[in-house]
Symmetry: C2
Subunit: 309 residues, 2 copies
């Protein structure tokens, strides 16, 4: 990837929808995907392969994944919490699968009822399953959640996060994602950790996943850019709250993230006006859900020219 | 000022209140000031010496300024738009007076019905009036508004802003403030401009004044910190909209700014919990006004320790 290009991966269909009351139809989700691709956003985490009884919103994950694979130009991925979810993602035909574990053992226990060490072992099992299936074309990403702090255990040690990244790379991860799951990160911390992560990952893709819970989401993007990160997860309209912080805003907002990146001289390939139109459409499907975002409220600066156009 | 200290100047009583429907009493304004000082925020822009028919909220500016001067520990300042306002501020006994003009000629014409060049001349008249009065103890700050862009004229040339700063310094400014009045600035632009401003100002204080209109307010604080800026204007609860962008958020939020600065290792001397209590008090006086802010909504991170405490 050229130094002046940045990638924005839409996670509104996954991280955004998991907190939402209204259950979207598979056709609505696919319409959202199609319009994102038309707007220039080709990386989308389309669903999560969790048990439907835990998150009913994702009961249609097979249908959504298979539908997404028919959309030209879309690089569809899905989140999986365990080997069983990974097998379902493989069976659906996805070529990008993201596994996630928490740096905080307490958070991991609460989230997936296993220790972080057990989740690391599970990632090795997923890698082995992929390899045994002969599907070497499937890219397996590994994400470290609560990498900047945890609502349960508080401080998360930077060296612990770096050791986890090393372990995941050794296990065979094709991509590393570093996530501020609960919105605890601050810019100096991001810059420092991400420089060290990038020193470990070499040529492998690295994505930052920030929440704007405490208002520092976009400041953290700038810090990660400084460190050399060029890929970010974000959610249309900032959808996606935090189960441990009621009323808190969710993921960083896709429209605002694209505006920031383009302002900073990074080409995203994404049309902000088209995003704003999709946002209106999705908001009409989710009555009562809070849609955050500054650009949707205030508009682009007069004379703003996207590098992408 | 030590490199690890940062100053936060409360402008909620000035920039925040000028857009608000409810007119606070002078006693409420002074109670706000007293509580800010008790919380550790000793720099407050307490009022604006504009004609009362233009902004009725500031009809009590003499009373507020005189009252503020009786509060122990408070460094009270006021904004003045012209020589007449400056004379009133001098007469009230204030020792810090801030004059502001717009880098954008169109914005200046709309704001104070004069060209930027005429406003520069007026600043020289204010300096002369201060000198003739023998009140050399009064510090005269000069602020450049719309320094990062203008809702009327769009792009504002960086070299034009730097020449204005040079002119204001030559005229005798004791402090320079650089303001993103309409929320157009982005971090790379801030870092680049502020490095050059600091190269001009030498040992004189320099303050950045950001609005969060397009979500980049705190990211811009980080960029200004990188450039070496150590003083920031902010408004409790993010009070203060922009007359040219309805529904847009206003000044950067004081609580969130202090949280950011302390997270980044800067001592502000300000107690965030005390700010949150003042915010509740002020919000109760201003029914229906939007109070923005992430920390008020989500709380501080678990285990967060202020450097100030």
């Amino acid at each position: 990837m050229n130094d002046s290009r940045a990638q924005v991966r839409e996670v509104g269909l996954r991280d955004g929808l998991q907190m939402v009351k209204t259950i979207l139809s598979a056709e609505q989700k696919l319409e959202w995907c199609r319009r994102m691709v038309a707007a220039g956003c080709t990386e989308i985490e389309v669903t999560s392969f969790v048990p439907p009884r835990i998150v009913p919103q994702f009961a249609d994950s097979d249908e959504v994944a298979r539908g997404a694979l028919t959309i030209a130009g879309l690089h569809a991925s899905a989140l999986v919490p365990n080997l069983k979810g990974a097998q379902r993602a493989f069976d659906a035909g996805l070529k990008k699968v993201h596994y996630v574990l928490s740096a905080s053992n307490e958070h991991n226990l609460k989230n997936v009822r296993r220790s972080t060490a057990e989740s690391v072992d599970d990632f090795s099992n997923i890698i082995a399953a992929r390899n045994e299936s002969g599907r070497q074309d499937i890219k397996l990403g590994a994400g470290v959640a609560t990498a900047f702090g945890c609502t349960i255990s508080g401080h998360v040690d930077e060296q612990h996060v770096l050791r986890l990244v090393e372990t995941l790379l050794k296990a065979g991860a094709d991509e590393i994602a570093i996530a501020d799951t609960v919105g605890y990160a601050h810019p100096g911390q991001v810059r420092k950790l991400m420089r060290q992560v990038l020193a470990l990952t070499g040529d492998l893709p690295v994505t930052c996943h920030f929440h704007d819970t405490r208002g520092l989401g976009l400041a953290n993007v700038v810090a990660a850019l400084d460190a050399g990160v060029r890929a970010f997860d974000s959610s249309l309209g900032g959808l996606g709250g935090c189960p441990f912080a009621p009323n808190a805003t969710g993921n960083i907002n896709t429209e605002d993230t694209v505006f920031l990146l383009e302002s900073e001289g990074m080409r995203t390939g994404i049309d902000i006006d088209a995003l704003l139109a999709i946002r209106e459409q999705v908001a009409s499907w989710l009555p009562g859900e809070p849609f955050a975002g500054a650009i949707a409220r205030a508009g682009l600066p007069k004379g703003f020219v996207s590098l992408t156009m």
